[in-house]
Subunit: 507 residues, 2 copies
């Protein structure tokens, strides 16, 4: 802290002429960073896809405090290359098959840059007419492209908003549903409200319910099983609701997922909405994979109240672009507006003004629509669809290659572009038999072997996959979706899996 | 929708070879966008700072649906110039004195670009060690630079996190405080919890309380007055708390603001924390202007539980960088983690692992620390401080120029870099006298005249300011802070004000 304190008087007069936004310096440094990133993409395949650094590595490389004097961009970029890049799992690498993809693209990047460059805070129309209006237009474009019911579009008296993540989108809808219900039954009944999802639903939903003040005991995670491929069964939902109503609770909210995190399971919107309707519940459909090639999976979505899709997953916009559509924007606005008097003006009543600050958690908001607009225009509907179909094809290719090897099992039918597989317990039995002992391998041993396999694969740095545990079974998830992925990467990945399995099964 | 549907079969085969992240194409288009933005900054002064477009202008300029086929970047950029730029208030213009500044800089921009380019989803350490570790380092750097008590830093067993906005930061802290309290007094008492702020506090706090399920009646906005320059008085706070405790309510949370939105008023942290301490309340200090040149305004902050600062306001990082520091990270984690079992591991207990998803609303998170790191290193402590001091000097210059004209009143003493002024009612009396009628001008008439003055100034496109209403008085806010602002812009702005006042007062 010494340098921070001691020099500031001295430097006061000498340094007040900096222009942190000098156009020509911006141009010079901007070009440098573009070249840095272009080289990064060119070389990304060569980096170990999972970072090999150890916990706490970075503090050892960096100084203890903010420098008192400016450092040149060249030095900073060198540090990025030396200290930051080795600490990254390379999410944009074609060998990245972990989690869900988070796709970047040139168009998405350019849109993000422009938005950052303009740096407008578009909380309402007047603070940025272009940001507000472009957003209303592109959410309609995308909604139409996904063949959403017109009732979710502005052109059909619904509407959409671009948020950062599903967590925010779901929190907004839970809060809207909560307040709508409490207005009917009285605020003192908050403790009775119940939120439903399946045990495969992303923890974001539970977290959102928790933040919204739903009693932790009233977050009901309904058991799924292999018999429904881990989809939420309408019968199980109804049974749980009946039990809760019996106990004096009030069913509030259901989140149905099209493409769950663990296994890309598909909760059936149509039949789940039918159950929810009987109890006047709000239904949110969270779709990672709602793209038109798979439109039938969201059949029945017209019965839902809200629908969200992370454009940063498969839609090339880079992180921070979750599209939320609602049928009844006023439900959101009633909960999330802090100045309803002000909003009750002629323009709003005529539905001409959208003040997006009242559609989300935060008041400040970035100019997100630019990047989605750039993506939709730069690639066009046809290319975007074929891009996704290609990923599905590659997932099927991988599935085929793994399934040919009889030591492996495809644990659930492959949906979209994710393959869930594992070494079969029987393959381990064979091994144990070979070693002179004949034993029935327990699921626990199989889990342990698959955990070791995954760790060994990931530590190689060649590919990166993650896992899930479903009904106690450890499965390896192979999620195709990186922008740069090609068939050859998928083929190599299947070989890597087999090679590491050879080692695991021979020791 | 016709084109969307009809062509996709046709284009299926012809279009599957796109590479949306081709390095050389990235380079080409990236350089184009840098030049576009460099030219924008060069010319930004020439644009009308407040957009002149009419409501609904954009839908008329754009096609109805997503194009089926790709469009070249040249066409898209031309549309940005023709249709988007005219719909922007130019937040980066040196003539922008509205709201609070949202400062961009070359370094902030470069950091944001790199983060977008790497496109990692750093929800926990393993998903991005570099993103997690750099964040823990730069929040300590910044905290130390602000001379925060060590108890708020990782190096003092507290810690910081970079969120998008103050709304998110405050929501996290309210939820943490709520759950901590309910664990003591039972969840059924949620309806008794009270959140306090002043009537000058940003509506984000009320919104956060609302989202967290605090009963709307239990959000207490305490009246302030000119006698304390609209700062929250500890006595008023105590009186309100006593009344609430008497009524069986439970004081939970206080937000003290250092630099309120309307008039940059300063709630005194030290004496407010003393009151809060008597009732075991959580105190959050929301500081727009906590920079060291004004360090004394946050004296007593060691009594608070949490502290936040929007680095995008005055710290050049561009939108989406709110630093939140807490003394007790475990309070946040207990509320915001959805897998506490998983987290209870050896590494966490030894405080080595920070899983930032448990410090914020969302699970996914951008690599925000890069841009703050770039800013701190590119400019250094000395430059950053003199940058802020210069803005204060310019605000004082403007204040002096306006105050010399006896028709104007500086409504509250100028804090930091914001001047609140208005045409005096007496100046309007003189006018009315001149017209042959002698009348005492009511505050209402004065408000109307000032409203007209502001509208006339803003419609000119030369400068953009906004307003506030305090104790029924309409005041014009002049917030210095745009990165590109120089003395000459401030002098011109004062002339624009006087010229428009001449017109208003002569008609």
């Amino acid at each position: 802290m010494g340098s921070v304190k001691s020099d500031h008087v001295h430097n006061h007069t000498s340094s007040h002429n900096i222009n942190p936004l000098d156009p020509e310096e911006f141009r010079r440094q901007g070009h440098m960073i573009i070249d840095f990133l272009a080289d990064y993409y060119r070389d990304v395949e060569k980096y170990p896809v999972l970072s090999q650094v150890e916990l706490g590595y970075l503090r050892k490389c960096l100084p203890e405090s903010t420098p008192n004097n400016p450092e040149p961009i060249e030095t900073i970029l060198q540090d990025v290359q030396e200290h930051i890049v080795p600490g990254l799992p390379h999410w944009q690498s074609p060998n990245f098959f972990a989690y869900f993809p988070c796709t970047g693209s040139i168009a998405g990047f350019l849109g993000e840059m422009l938005g950052t460059g303009f740096n407008v805070v578009g909380f309402n129309w007047i603070a940025s007419p272009a940001a507000t209006e472009l957003e209303t237009i592109v959410v309609d474009w995308l909604g139409e492209m996904l063949e959403l019911p017109k009732s979710f579009l502005f052109s059909g008296n619904g509407g959409g908003v671009l948020q950062g993540t599903t967590c925010e989108a779901v929190l907004c809808t839970i809060v809207a549903a909560r307040d709508q219900m409490l207005n009917q039954i009285g605020r003192e009944n908050l403790k009775k409200l119940v939120v439903y999802s399946s045990d495969q639903t992303h923890s974001a939903i539970q977290k959102a319910a928790q933040i919204a003040g739903i009693h932790p005991k009233n977050f009901k995670s309904i058991k799924t099983s292999k018999s429904t491929s881990y989809a939420l069964s309408p019968d199980s939902l109804r049974a749980q609701i009946c039990e809760d109503v019996e106990a004096g609770l009030v069913p509030l909210f259901l989140c149905a997922t099209v493409g769950t995190t663990a296994t890309a399971a598909i909760d059936p919107p149509e039949s789940l909405c039918a159950v929810a309707k009987d109890y006047g519940m709000w239904v949110h459909v969270d779709a990672a994979y709602a793209e038109v090639p798979f439109r039938h999976f969201i059949d029945g979505v017209e019965g839902a109240n809200s629908f969200s899709l992370n454009a940063h997953k498969w839609f090339l916009t880079s992180l921070g672009c979750c599209c939320l559509w609602v049928k009844d924007p006023s439900a959101l606005i009633k909960s999330l507006s802090t100045n309803p008097e002000f909003l009750r003006n002629k323009a709003l009543d005529s539905k001409q003004v959208v003040d997006y600050k009242d559609w989300q958690i935060t008041l400040s908001r970035k100019f997100r629509s630019l990047k989605l607009w750039f993506v939709l225009r730069s690639y066009g509907v046809a290319n975007l669809r074929s891009f996704m179909r290609n990923h599905v094809k590659m997932a099927n290719l991988f599935e085929g290659l793994v399934a040919m090897d009889k030591r492996f099992e495809i644990v659930v039918p492959t949906n979209f572009a994710m393959v869930c597989f594992r070494i079969l317990p029987s393959a381990l039995s064979e091994k144990i038999y070979k070693n002179g002992k004949l034993d029935i391998v327990s699921e626990e041993h199989a889990n342990e072997a698959n955990r070791k396999l995954l760790e060994s694969i990931n530590m190689s740095g060649c590919v990166f996959m993650t896992h899930a545990v479903v009904e106690g079974v450890f499965v390896i998830r192979f999620a195709v979706g990186a922008t740069l992925v090609e068939e050859r990467h998928v083929i190599t990945a299947s070989k890597v899996v087999q090679e590491h399995a050879n080692v695991i099964l021979s020791t």
